[in-house]
């Protein structure tokens, strides 16, 4: 059985950019362990000859023409209207460099 340690949960929180309370850390650690324990049943199923497929219908890749579709264009004002922080027609983000 895979038991998630305190540091596993911390690492996952960091990767998902989530902050957890102490109670949440405990709860999530318990629940993720239970989930991983359950999915162990997949090892009952022999998949040695199964191809790596990622799709259920017989859809094939679709390419769009390289043309501007104005019906799906947003104006700068529309694109910015839900942003909390904006300046001079741009989104404001945290400095990364």
């Amino acid at each position: 059985m895979t038991r998630l340690t305190h540091s596993d949960v911390e690492k996952l929180a960091e990767l998902t950019k989530l902050q957890l309370s102490e109670a949440e850390r405990e709860k999530i650690s318990h629940d993720l362990t239970a989930s991983l324990d359950y999915v162990n049943n997949l090892s009952d199923v022999d998949t040695q000859t199964v191809p790596e497929t990622f799709f259920t219908t017989d859809a094939v890749n679709v390419m769009a023409e390289d043309e501007v579709d104005e019906t799906v264009m947003l104006t700068a004002a529309e694109a910015l209207k839900n942003a909390s922080f904006k300046k001079d027609g741009y989104f404001v983000v945290k400095r990364i460099l």
């Binding site: 998630l4 949960v9 259920t56 839900n82």
Partner: protein
């Protein structure tokens, strides 16, 4: 005349000018205003209906799950992360409804991000089951199912990743259709499990589901996973004389409430009397679909919810609830180096085998009849006892979702506990036509009484 009338019947009355849209909306607005405070089925609604002036026809209003982006209403996905968000564009499903003349009356409650099977994870509070308000309506499309069951709206749209249409439909005593993956566009649906998500109708009758599917189905350039398959005239073929070979499988009866098993048996007899024949088949145990779903859906969630950074819209990541955090973290784990082969890729391969399992069953039968859920709607709070409540409750709907095939849940009677029971038919890829036809036959014979509960919510 309006209370308890099906969506289809109201559409006829509108077309024949026997009722106006304002007569219809006057009724439903009153019922919503009176009973929504208790049921909490709608997150938002307008007092005035807004219609598309260019629509040639007029259809009755609908409720739409609040994970479709709409220009008319805020879109919340029932999460505080999106509070105040107004989409600058319209989803394909709601565009099609508006163009067909069906006004959107409001947005219905759901589990936050559609993560759950009870609506208890909604940041806007739980929706109540109209049959017993101490019980959950199911989820994640619980607001849509409860609104239709209680007669707050004549029909609604939901979305399903694995059970989120069929389970609340079963628990609220209404019809829920999950179309084939790729039959209905996902454009403008708040993405959850992108290789699973399917919009579909939640309605009072099978005919209503057929009518609404005709409006919302079809290929969409804005969703590359939709397929160019003809959209049949589903509603006009319901009364045709056609019989099917239907499979039944003991694997789908394991750990199911005996009264629900009895409802499936009764449904089988009724369909046999209609001339349909039954054949026993052996299927892969549904418990493997739980694991497949849990790994793949969590992985897709961890990717889809990474976009909520608070930069372009919404608040920052501190507003996510426990369920979303749990899912993103498990998905991140399943995709991480060292585990991706053992968890994510393994689950993909088992998913392939589930799809193959259905393909081989459909060589012998046209569709499969099984229960929709293992139990009836539990009490509010029951889900807290589980580490993954939704997966356990959706065990019988996950196989069809994994295979991408269509399935429909139909109310099949009442349990002695006073709550409705649902049975489902699972069909072939893109064969919603046969599925709806057979579900219609079953519905006609079952004579489920949907009016009692509607009366409860229209009498005051």
């Amino acid at each position: 005349m309006i209370a308890g009338s099906s969506y289809t019947y109201l559409a006829h009355l509108l077309r024949d000018n026997k009722l106006s849209q304002s007569d219809i909306w006057g009724h439903f607005l009153h019922v919503i205003q009176t009973h929504n405070p208790q049921l909490n089925a709608f997150i938002s609604y307008d007092e005035e209906l807004s219609a598309d002036d260019e629509a040639k026809d007029t259809l009755p209003p609908l409720g739409v799950k609040d994970n479709f982006v709409t220009k008319q209403f805020p879109t919340t996905a029932a999460s505080k992360v999106l509070s105040g968000y107004f989409s600058p564009y319209e989803s394909t499903v709601t565009s099609k409804l508006l163009r067909a003349g069906a006004p959107i009356a409001g947005k219905t409650n759901l589990d936050a991000w559609a993560h759950g099977s009870s609506t208890e994870t909604s940041d806007f509070g739980v929706t109540r089951n109209p049959y017993n308000p101490d019980h959950v309506p199911g989820g994640s499309s619980g607001g849509s199912a409860a609104a239709v069951a209680a007669g707050l709206i004549p029909a609604a749209i939901g979305t399903e990743t694995a059970g989120s249409i069929r389970l609340p439909a079963a628990w609220c005593g209404v019809v829920g259709l999950k179309p084939t993956y790729g039959r209905v566009s996902r454009y403008g649906v708040v993405a959850m499990g992108s290789s699973w998500d399917c919009p579909g109708p939640i309605t009072q009758t099978v005919e209503d589901a057929a009518l609404i599917l005709e409006v919302i189905a079809g290929m969409d350039d804005r969703d590359a996973t939709t397929l160019d398959k003809a959209v049949d005239s589903y509603s006009s073929s319901l009364r045709s004389k056609q019989t099917f070979t239907i499979g039944y499988s003991d694997e789908f009866l394991t750990d199911v409430d005996p009264e629900i098993v009895a409802a499936v048996e009764k449904s089988r007899k009724l369909l046999e009397e209609q001339g349909h024949s039954f054949k026993k088949i052996s299927m892969m145990a549904p418990k493997y679909a739980i694991s497949v779903y849990m790994m793949l859906q969590r992985s897709e969630v961890s990717s889809n919810l990474a976009r909520y950074t608070g930069v372009r819209y919404g608040s920052d990541r501190s507003s996510f609830g426990l369920e979303a955090k749990r899912r993103m973290m498990l998905g991140t784990y399943a995709l991480s180096a060292g585990y991706v082969d053992q968890l994510y890729k393994k689950a993909q391969k088992v998913r392939y085998l589930i799809a193959q399992d259905f393909q081989s069953a459909y060589k012998d039968v046209d569709m499969i009849l099984v229960p929709t859920t293992p139990i009836t709607a539990p009490k509010i709070g029951f889900s807290e006892e589980f580490s993954f409540f939704g997966e356990m409750m959706d065990v019988l709907s996950e196989p069809a979702a994994a295979a991408g095939i269509p399935a429909i849940s139909v109310p099949a009677g009442m349990h002695s506990n006073g709550l409705p029971i649902g049975v489902q038919l699972m069909g072939r890829h893109f064969d919603e036509k046969s599925l709806l036809k057979c579900a219609y036959d079953l519905e006609q014979q079952l004579e489920f009484n949907r009016l009692d509960v509607i009366k409860k919510y229209t009498s005051s």
